[in-house]
């Protein structure tokens, strides 16, 4: 089962390699952490404090909002946008492999003989992808302006900062471009507006004279860059996306 882009042996192979590299990178970090032998926590884990900190400081990031709305908007959009897209891809990948094809819900989500555009579930994924993709773009635009145009005094730009921003930007742009080119195909006309951001880009591209292109080529570029980024995460600045929440909730528990 698939939606818009059929998985091939090459894609499977790359996925496995990416996951292995990602796991290896995570193990590298965990091995280093485990060399610390002192006590990590001085008090019992306070579950209430952990949950509260997770909602307030990890998801909503109110501690950043108290300092600056722009910085909060940037960070919140990148974090939630990235996590939303990662979740969408993961959900699609798992469902397309583990959900029996003859189930109604499968037909609702994926392309079938009856429908080349999927059912109501596919529309949810269309909106989902555009909402989080747009959030990621908004966050990245603010980040690029702050770091490279305004050059906020507190920022010190290293290669790893530029690498992460560049990779995420390429992922977001190729994602929307592949969608925009796909929506130029008349068979998607009836469902195009569910991909509101991608379809807007379709109209812009057509208005400036850029015609239909093979969207699958763009999906491949998008996939390759995404794979590289995923494998690179444990060694990159983006590693904090997964590590910082651990520290936030542990600190809250210790101080509770």
């Amino acid at each position: 089962m698939y939606l818009y882009f059929e998985a091939t042996a090459a894609l499977y192979t790359l996925t496995v390699i990416t996951v292995l590299l990602l796991v290896a990178g995570i193990i590298c970090s965990v091995v280093l952490w485990s060399k610390g032998k002192a006590k990590s926590l001085h008090h019992q884990l306070n579950i209430g404090a952990v949950i509260k900190a997770f909602i307030v400081d990890v998801v909503l990031q109110l501690q950043i909002l108290k300092v600056s709305f722009v910085r909060w908007l940037m960070h919140f959009c990148i974090f939630i946008g990235f996590m939303g897209l990662l979740a969408q891809t993961t959900v699609i990948a798992f469902m397309s492999h583990f959900l029996p094809a003859d189930l109604a819900v499968s037909k609702s989500f994926f392309v079938s003989e009856a429908s080349a555009v999927g059912g109501a579930g596919a529309r949810v994924l269309d909106v989902w992808g555009d909402v989080f993709g747009l959030m990621l773009v908004v966050g990245l635009v603010i980040a690029i302006i702050r770091r490279y145009v305004v050059r906020a005094a507190q920022l010190e730009t290293m290669l790893k900062d530029t690498m992460s921003i560049t990779l995420l930007t390429v992922i977001a742009l190729t994602g929307f471009l592949s969608e925009a080119f796909r929506l130029m195909d008349p068979q998607f006309a009836s469902i195009a507006w569910y991909s509101f951001a991608g379809y807007t880009l379709t109209n812009i591209l057509e208005a400036i004279g850029i015609g239909a292109m093979n969207y699958k080529l763009w999906v491949w570029i998008h996939a390759l860059v995404s794979f590289f980024f995923l494998a690179y995460i444990p060694f990159s600045k983006a590693w904090h996306i997964f590590v910082s929440p651990i520290e936030i909730v542990l600190d809250a528990s210790e101080r509770a």
Binding site: W239, H240, E247
Partner: protein
Amino acid sequence: MENETKNVTEATENTEQTPEAAQAAPAAEGPAETAAPAEEKTTRIPIEKLSPRQLLELDACTRCGECSNWCPAYDQDQREPLNPRGRAALFKDIISRQHGVFNADSFLGKLLGKKPVTDEEMQEFAKDLYACSTCMQCHFVCPVLIDTVELWERIRECVVDAGYGPLETQKDLVLKTKNYDNPWGQPRSSRARWGKMAKKKKRIKDAPKDISKKPAEVLYFVGCTASYDNNVEEVGINSVNIFDHAGVDFGILGNKEKCCGSVLLRMGDRESFKRICTENIEQFNDLGIKTLVTSCAGCLKTIKEDYAKFGKLNFEVKHTLEYVVELIKSGRLKLTNDVNLKITYHDPCHLGRHAGVFDAPRELLSLIPGLEFVEMERNRENSRCCGAGGGLKSGYPDMQNQISQKRVAEALTTGATELVSACPFCYQGLQVGIQAMDAPINMRDITELVCMALGEGPADEAEKKE
């Protein structure tokens, strides 16, 4: 060893040596350890001394740089290794090259061009590591809430273990604390001298009783700075007068009082701290007290927060001002005299950010009649550090002076004539700035204002100078 210590006592007992003077001149002959043990340097960082969480914290830093907007040391010297972000990144780089999967000795590490950590790098790192007052501001502004101070102190421990810390000027404090149980290198036998002198000068009714001989409900832990520094002894004298006024059943340990060990912990000598902390816990617990009260923010933080990691205390720990607020509320203390002063309050880092005591001092100030209290722009969680803590004053006196001047300048903008704090160490630290600027503002401990409101009168300035 006892004889040797006695010699030191006799040699210095009749001097009026201030802690500053003691710092400048090494302690008299015969300490238990006259010099630092022969150092065996190794560039290998013993990361096992850190916790997995602390190693994770190095990865948790988002490099947002918010800490660089607030760090008092970075404010003076804007080099990246001096701000918390840079320090964390540098340490991560060092330990990755030594202990990471791709370390400099591994095949992959060599392939990736990882280089072994050099002696010069370690020296530079240690030098910058100690340019920190452990004020904890970085924790409060960090969006990830990294437990920075605990991390820096643990890294200092690693650096000490590797033979690169503390700095030469700080080693003296550590050595003196280990040998004399106070960082000023003063004899143990003169620890309670301030009380006897105050009694002689009729500044207090009676010298506080020795709690080890006559049990009491409250132990007043005077602390090294208020015990030995003539300029700060007011803190002890005022506290005693307040307790007497309220009829508190209290006592002091006198010459049996030892340093709380804060200096050792902040400098990274955790093993020595453990010894002094364990001895103190045992001594305190044996007294059967209900409350330990101290006027020193550093002692409070150490006893209340750090001791709890090494043993159980069978009493509660309070700062004098918290205790005074309770005395007033219970009606045992009545502040009746007007204190017509315009003051501003400096939150000591160890009392505020470290121990979370922000409201009690403000409540106390609001209870003093006639007082006009103006907040500084940076207060409470964002109070600007005076630079005296964490070994910064001994390691980088010029930097501390500049940091202190910034705080004093901030106090002056309020129009206050009195700069009030609740820590003898901040008192010393801010005094440095006041003197350097010749600023028209008086440094006072909060207990002094309470005494004035009790009609005990302010400390006589002439006598103070004498």
